[in-house]
Amino acid sequence: MPELVLQLTRAGFLALLWLFVLAALRVVRSDIYAASGLRVAVPGGFRKGGKQLAKGKTAKQLVVTHGALTGTRISLDGRPILIGRADDSTLVLDDDFASTRHARLSLRGSDWYVEDLGSTNGTYLDRAKVTAPLRVPLGAPIRIGKTVIELRT
C-alpha cells in the first residue's frame, strides 16, 4: 500500500470508530421516546392497523363504542372532527368528564391523528395518554371521559 493510502486509511479508521459511536447513539435516540421504561401500552391492533393502512385502507367512519352515544356513527370525509361538549363540535358529548373542546381528529396524508385540545381529564389512545398528535390505527379505542370511539373502514 502506498504511503498516502496508508495515511488515508489511518484517518478513515478513526472516522469509522466515531461513526460506530454515532450509529450506536442513533439507536439510543430512537429509544428516547419510549422514555425510561414508561413504555406505551401495546394495543394488539396497532401493528395490524399499520399494515392495513399500508394496503391503502383508510378509515371511512367513526363509531362510538361506549358511553351515552353508543352506536353513533359519523362518516369521515377528510375534514377534521372536533369532539367536546361545545354545541359546534362534530361529535357533541354529554359527558361530565369531557371538556368543552376536548379533542380533535384530523387527517394528514392517509392517516388520522388524534390531538388533545387541552382537556381537563385527558384523551387516551388505547391506554396511553395523548400528549402530542398520535396516529390512530384502525380499531384502536380513543377514550374521552366515559366515551370510547374508534375508527372503522
Binding site: R10, L14, L17, L19, V21, A24, V27, S30, N121
Partner: protein
C-alpha cells in the same frame, strides 16, 4: 390527498419511525447491522497493522478475522434464540472492544516476543490465546443466557453467591505462593498452563449477593436513623453489610497486596447501597471510610507508598519504580491527538503493555480521538445497562443492572485514571481489552446478565398477561369538574 411522509409534523413522525413503534420490535436486526459494522472495523484494524508491520497483508490475519466473525455470529444467533428482546447495543459494544483488543494483541506480539527473546525468555503469543478465550467467554455467555431464563431466580441464591465470592477472593491469599503469585501480587490460581484470577469472578458474585441482600433488607436502610451534624446516619445494625464489605475489601488488600480490587468492591457496594436507599449519607460515610482505609494502607504497605510516590512524581525515579508510569505517559504523549496509527508506534516499551497498560497502547496508536471513541463505547455499554435497570420492573434486576454498569464504569475510570496519572496506579485489567482469560470470562458473564435483564425489561407484557380493566371502565382521573 396523500402527502409525502416528510410533510408530517415532526411531533408525529416518531410514531412511525422504525424502531420506536410501540409494538416492541426485537431489534435483533439493529444488533446484526452494528455487529457487521464492528467486523468491518476489526478487518480494517488487522489490515492496517499488517501493512504497517510487514508492508503486506499477511494471510494469517484471515484466520483471526474468520474466527472473530464466526464467534460473534454464533453469539448473535444465541441472543436471537435465548434473549430476543435484549438491548441491541450491549453485544456490539462488547464485540467492538474485544475485537480491537485481539487486533492490538496481534500487533503487540512480534515486538514483545523480540524483547523476551533478547532477554533470553520464552514468549507465547497473546493474540491466539485471546481469541480462544473470547470463544470460551462467549460460550459462557450463551450458557448463562440458556440456564438463566429469568434473572429473578438468581436472587434466591444471594447468600450462596456471597459465600462463593468471598471464598474465591480469599483463596489465592491462603494458597502457597508457588501457585498464586505473579509479579508480586497474590491474585492467581495457577494449575498447569491455566492461570485464573478468581477475583474477577468474585466481583460478579459479590454484586449478585449485595443486590439480593439489599432487596430482602431494603426497608431497614430507609428507616430514619440518628441525625448527626445535619447528616442522617443509618442505625448501627443496618451498617452491618457495609462494614462487612469494607472489611473484606481491606482484607483482600492486605493479603493480596492489591489496591485495585479492594477499591472495586468498596466503590461498587457503596454505589449499590446508594441506589437502593437514595440516601447521600451512605456516600459520605463511604468517603470517610475510604479515606481512613487509604491512610492506614499508605502507612502499612510499602508498595502502596511506592504507587502514591509514582503518582505524585513518577520522574523522581524514572529509571526505577517510576519507569512503567513514565513510559506510559510517554506512550500516551507520543500518540497525541490523532495517534501514530495502528502498528506505527512503540507501545511495547511500556512494561505489561498487553494487560494492565493496554489502554496506553491504544492511546499511542489511535491517539486522543480513537481512545475517546473507545471510552464512549464503554459509556454506551454502561448506559444501556443502567437504562435496562431503569426499565426492568423488579428491584433485584434494577440493583443488579445498576451494580454491574457501575462496576464497568468504575473499573474503566480506575484503569484509565491510573495509566494517565490522574489517580495512583492500581493493577486492574481493562474489561474486554486486557489480555487474560479471567477478565474476559467475567466480563462476558456480566454482559450475559445485562442482556438477560434488558430482555426482561423490553419483552412485551403480552407474554406475561396482566389483568386489566376493560377500556371503558379504566380510571379517568377527575382533576376538576369541567364547567
Amino acid at each position: 390527498m396523500a402527502l409525502p411522509p416528510g410533510v408530517l409534523g415532526s411531533a408525529t413522525t416518531h410514531m412511525t419511525a422504525p424502531g420506536s413503534t410501540p409494538a416492541t420490535p426485537t431489534r435483533r436486526g439493529t444488533e446484526l447491522t452494528l455487529l457487521g459494522f464492528v467486523l468491518g472495523l476489526v478487518v480494517l484494524a488487522f489490515v492496517l497493522i499488517s501493512e504497517n508491520q510487514s508492508q503486506s497483508i499477511k494471510p494469517e490475519i484471515l484466520l483471526y478475522i474468520a474466527g472473530y466473525a464466526v464467534l460473534f455470529g454464533v453469539a448473535h444467533l444465541a441472543v436471537r434464540k435465548f434473549a430476543p428482546y435484549a438491548d441491541p447495543l450491549i453485544l456490539p459494544c462488547a464485540a467492538m472492544l474485544n475485537g480491537l483488543s485481539i487486533a492490538m494483541l496481534y500487533r503487540l506480539d512480534p515486538p514483545l516476543a523480540e524483547i523476551a527473546f533478547s532477554g533470553g525468555n520464552g514468549y507465547s503469543n497473546a493474540a491466539p490465546k485471546q481469541l480462544i478465550w473470547t470463544g470460551l467467554s462467549l460460550l459462557a455467555m450463551i450458557a448463562v443466557l440458556w440456564l438463566i431464563k429469568d434473572h429473578r431466580t438468581l436472587s434466591r441464591y444471594g447468600y450462596t453467591f456471597g459465600l462463593a465470592g468471598l471464598v474465591l477472593l480469599v483463596l489465592p491469599g491462603v494458597l502457597p505462593c508457588s501457585i498464586s503469585c505473579v509479579a508480586g501480587a497474590k491474585l492467581w490460581i495457577i494449575i498447569g498452563p491455566v492461570s485464573i484470577q478468581p477475583g474477577e469472578f468474585a466481583k460478579v458474585l459479590i454484586i449478585l449477593f449485595v443486590a439480593a441482600f439489599l432487596v430482602s433488607k431494603r426497608d431497614l436502610f430507609t428507616i430514619a436513623g440518628r441525625k448527626f451534624v445535619g447528616l442522617e446516619l443509618p442505625r448501627p445494625r443496618d451498617m452491618g453489610p457495609l462494614l462487612i464489605a469494607w472489611a473484606v475489601a481491606i482484607l483482600v488488600l492486605m493479603i493480596e497486596k492489591e489496591l485495585g480490587a479492594s477499591l472495586m468492591f468498596f466503590g461498587t457496594v457503596l454505589a449499590m447501597l446508594y441506589l437502593a436507599t437514595e440516601r447521600s449519607s451512605w456516600v459520605w460515610i463511604g468517603i470517610v471510610l475510604f479515606m481512613g482505609g487509604a491512610t492506614v494502607a499508605d502507612r502499612l504497605f510499602t508498595h502502596v507508598q511506592t504507587r502514591v510516590a509514582n503518582w505524585v512524581d513518577p520522574f523522581a525515579d524514572a529509571q526505577g519504580d517510576g519507569y512503567q508510569m513514565v513510559q506510559s505517559l510517554f506512550s500516551l504523549g507520543s500518540g497525541g491527538i490523532a495517534g501514530a496509527g495502528l502498528g506505527g508506534g512503540h507501545p511495547e516499551l511500556v512494561p505489561v503493555i498487553n494487560s494492565d497498560f493496554i489502554v496506553a497502547a491504544f492511546g499511542e496508536e489511535l491517539g486522543f480521538i480513537g481512545l475517546a471513541a473507545m471510552i464512549m463505547v464503554y459509556m454506551l455499554l454502561a448506559m444501556r445497562g443502567l437504562r435496562s435497570g431503569l426499565a426492568v420492573r423488579d428491584t433485584f434486576g434494577k440493583l443488579l443492572a445498576g451494580g454491574l454498569s457501575f462496576l464497568l464504569m468504575w473499573q474503566i475510570f480506575v484503569v484509565i485514571g491510573g495509566i494517565s496519572k490522574l489517580i495512583p496506579q492500581t493493577g486492574l485489567t481493562a474489561p474486554f481489552l486486557s489480555a487474560g482469560g479471567s477478565s474476559l470470562l467475567a466480563s462476558y458473564i456480566m454482559v450475559a446478565l445485562l442482556l438477560r435483564i434488558s430482555d426482561a425489561a423490553r419483552r412485551p407484557q403480552a407474554s406475561r398477561p396482566k389483568p386489566q380493566a376493560p377500556i371503558a371502565e379504566a380510571s379517568t382521573v377527575l382533576v376538576e369538574r369541567p364547567t
